[in-house]
């Protein structure tokens, strides 16, 4: 078992671009840490540096208490699962699993025992004689996992291991991975660009952007206490609603809306802010607390998910684009910008909603997030709301 510590780890490439910028992280023994961020944020580079596949430009990496910064991968006592699985196509499943042990000169009897154990655990016993080309995506993924497990390493490094699976299998394997970690308790660093995967798997999640660590915390804290606009926008599905607003006495005004807040609602100290409202913090007015401010909206899109429904409506305010986050830079926008912002309310499915319906919604004022429009940093985090959450 082993903890992993990154001290000011930096990776710069020839052109001078910083892929990872002075990153420091402590991953205690047995923790499942997820590195998440958009493409090009440096998460895979960081993982490859921990694996020893990529050199470290500056800083220090410690694995299980010893300096591994310049150790070759084979001396780091880690195992890695790759996005493409990277199985050896000319070897059978058995040979793939045993290859690492063979290279480490593990005695044959011991090798066979460990391979058999892993095959049994991962339901691979029937597939021992097959080559990767004869396996399904899910089976290959299990072999890739098995190849890492059989090594019994101090830490697992996983680079988007589920991204090649279809959506349904991905969800199933996500749960299996969580169970596996629960059973083995091995320190794991898991890289993904899928925030749902990050939130469901990670004991802690580190959010990266442009090689910089934005926030590292539990999924719950990331969702409820985002450190900045980027984290707020990147974490959570549906995406957080963001709008430029003005804090006035006892109310928040944006566009044609004015949310009157209760007297005890936490408010930021400054007037101009960006307000974030999680879709799940907007309720149908019927059944909501009478203290919660109401807004009347006209539905433009209704996404009925079965148990829940996403009600999408627009407010007369310009979009707040967050650079690097999934919703940024109009990539999520098909139609021309009409100066309005689409808001989503994630409510329990009730009587059928239809496009064009006028609906009264209630906003939980204690769950509002405030961000500085200039720096994007969070301000006046509503502590009372957190305790209620």
């Amino acid at each position: 078992m082993g903890s992993i510590e990154l001290h000011e780890v930096t990776k710069s490439f020839d052109a001078g671009a910083l892929a990872v910028d002075h990153m420091s992280l402590q991953i205690p023994d047995g923790e499942f840490l997820v590195l998440v961020g958009p493409s090009g944020c440096g998460k895979s580079t960081l993982l490859r540096m921990v694996a020893g596949i990529e050199t470290v430009s500056d800083g220090r990496i410690q694995i299980a208490g010893r300096d591994a910064t310049h150790l070759p991968p084979r001396d780091r006592d880690i195992a890695m699962v790759f996005q493409s699985y990277a199985l050896y196509p000319h070897m059978t499943v058995l040979e793939n699993l045993g290859f690492g042990l063979k290279l480490q000169k593990v005695p044959k009897a011991e090798r066979e025992r460990r391979v058999a154990d892993v095959m049994r655990m991962l339901r691979l016993s029937e597939l021992g004689g097959r080559r990767p080309g004869q396996l399904s995506g899910g089976q290959r993924q299990r072999v890739a996992m098995g190849r890492a497990m059989v090594r019994e390493p101090a830490a697992f490094l996983m680079d988007e291991p589920l991204s090649n699976l279809d959506a349904k299998l991905r969800v199933a394997m996500r749960a299996e991975l969580a169970r596996l970690h629960e059973r083995l308790g091995v320190t794991t660093i898991y890289v993904t660009h899928d925030q749902t995967e990050a939130m469901t798997l990670g004991q802690r999640v580190a959010v990266l952007k442009d090689g910089l660590l934005q926030q590292v915390d539990t999924p719950h804290a990331l969702y409820h206490r985002p450190a900045n606009l980027f984290v707020a926008a990147f974490i959570g599905a549906p995406t957080i609603n963001l709008v430029r607003a003005r804090v006035e006495r006892g109310a928040i005004a944006f566009a044609d809306q004015r949310l009157s807040l209760p007297d005890d609602a936490p408010l930021p100290p400054q007037q101009d802010v960006i307000v974030g409202i999680r879709p799940s913090d907007i309720e149908l007015a019927d059944g909501a607390s009478p203290d919660h401010p109401r807004v009347d909206v006209q539905l433009e899109v209704v996404e009925d998910l079965g148990a829940e429904t996403n009600l999408i409506f627009s407010v007369a305010a310009p979009r707040v684009d967050v650079e690097g986050a999934d919703l940024a830079a109009s990539d999520d926008q098909l139609l021309a910008d009409d100066g309005r912002t689409m808001f989503t309310a994630h409510v329990s499915s009730g009587p059928g909603f239809a496009v064009g319906d006028r609906v009264t919604l209630a906003v939980n004022p204690t769950r509002l997030h405030y961000f500085d429009p200039g720096s994007g940093e969070a301000i006046a985090i509503p502590e009372r709301a957190l305790s209620a959450a």
């Binding site: 084979r74 000319h90 690492g100 290279l103």
Partner: protein, 313 residues
């Protein structure tokens, strides 16, 4: 109520009896454009390749001298081939060239690996290794013929560095002529191999290499267990090309370099084919050499593929 109109099915049957059915028509239409586009290539292939091959097979059973009517001699040409010392000697010389196959594979691979890893001056080297490819074999033959003369620059160089004892008439000495010819052939063609291996190396699955590194493989083990298997299709391709070239492509170079000598020490099967056809006017016999070569290449090629594909997924 009964209808007096013909049913839809009847109408289809009636149409079908006069014209091809819709799926067949669609298939013809679908094939029309590709066939039209392929037509020029097919005409050239059939006219300049297939017809001559079939004709050569026919001629191999005759004693045609290029002028009179070919006379059917059955298997006589092939029986004569087996007992023709000149031919078996030529075949042996060709096999000597083929024996250099490992060098032919290893050398371009090592150079390609170095270039792939961007050694100092790799752009210059890449160009330098490519130059022999664009030179005519006859030019290479004449050039090395001059360089390797007894009083030529190569021997002068040896003498100037104190290796005068090694100097000799490289191309006139039966013991050295064939190795020299092989070396020049390897030099003149390995640039192609470098390019082929370079393209193979640029398509390597880097994650497999990384996985092997994490698994604890050394540089040699990565080459052996990962890179080799990934490059196997390239290796197959290159070795088949070399094999075919050994049997058919080096005549112009050898002709201009040694003329097949001294004696018949560099006389190869393609040389023999040329000599019988255009030197001795035995076109029927030359055709039987061509047919024998075709069969030999098929056999050697199959053996190569079998050896190389043993464990491929």
């Amino acid at each position: 109520m009964e209808s007096t109109q013909p049913s839809a099915g009847t109408a289809i049957l009636q149409r079908g009896s006069r014209r091809p059915s819709a799926p067949l028509r669609r298939r013809v239409q679908r094939l029309g454009t590709p066939l039209l586009l392929l037509a020029p290539a097919l005409v050239i292939l059939i006219g300049l390749r297939l017809v001559p091959i079939v004709d050569a097979i026919r001629l191999s059973f005759t004693d045609w001298d290029g002028f009179g009517a070919p006379r059917w001699v059955g298997l006589d040409n092939f029986k004569a081939l087996i007992h023709d010392d000149r031919f078996t000697g030529a075949l042996l010389n060709t096999l000597k060239i083929l024996v250099a196959l490992p060098v032919w594979i290893l050398l371009p691979y090592l150079v390609a690996w170095a270039l792939h890893n961007k050694i100092f001056g790799w752009r210059l080297f890449r160009l330098a290794f490519f130059i022999p490819i664009v030179l005519s074999p006859a030019v290479i033959g004449v050039y090395y013929g001059l360089v390797l003369q007894p009083q030529g620059p190569f021997n002068e160089l040896l003498r100037s560095v104190g290796l005068g004892g090694v100097a000799r008439a490289w191309l006139n000495d039966p013991t050295s002529a064939m190795p020299v010819v092989i070396a020049i052939i390897v030099w003149s063609t390995f640039g192609v191999g470098v390019l082929i291996f370079l393209s193979g190396l640029s398509n390597l699955d880097q994650e497999q290499i990384d996985a092997a590194r994490v698994d604890g493989a050394s540089a040699w083990q990565i080459q052996r267990h990962v890179v080799f298997w990934q490059l196997l299709p390239v290796l197959e391709f290159w070795s088949i090309i070399i094999m075919i070239a050994s049997f058919t492509a080096f005549f112009p170079l050898i002709y201009s370099l040694t003329g097949g000598g001294p004696g018949f020490s560099t006389y190869t099967v393609d040389f023999a084919l040329y000599q019988e056809a255009f030197g001795n006017g035995n076109l029927g016999y030359a055709s039987s050499i061509g047919v024998a070569l075709l069969i030999l290449m098929a056999i050697v090629g199959l053996i190569q593929l079998r050896l190389l594909r043993g464990r491929r997924a």
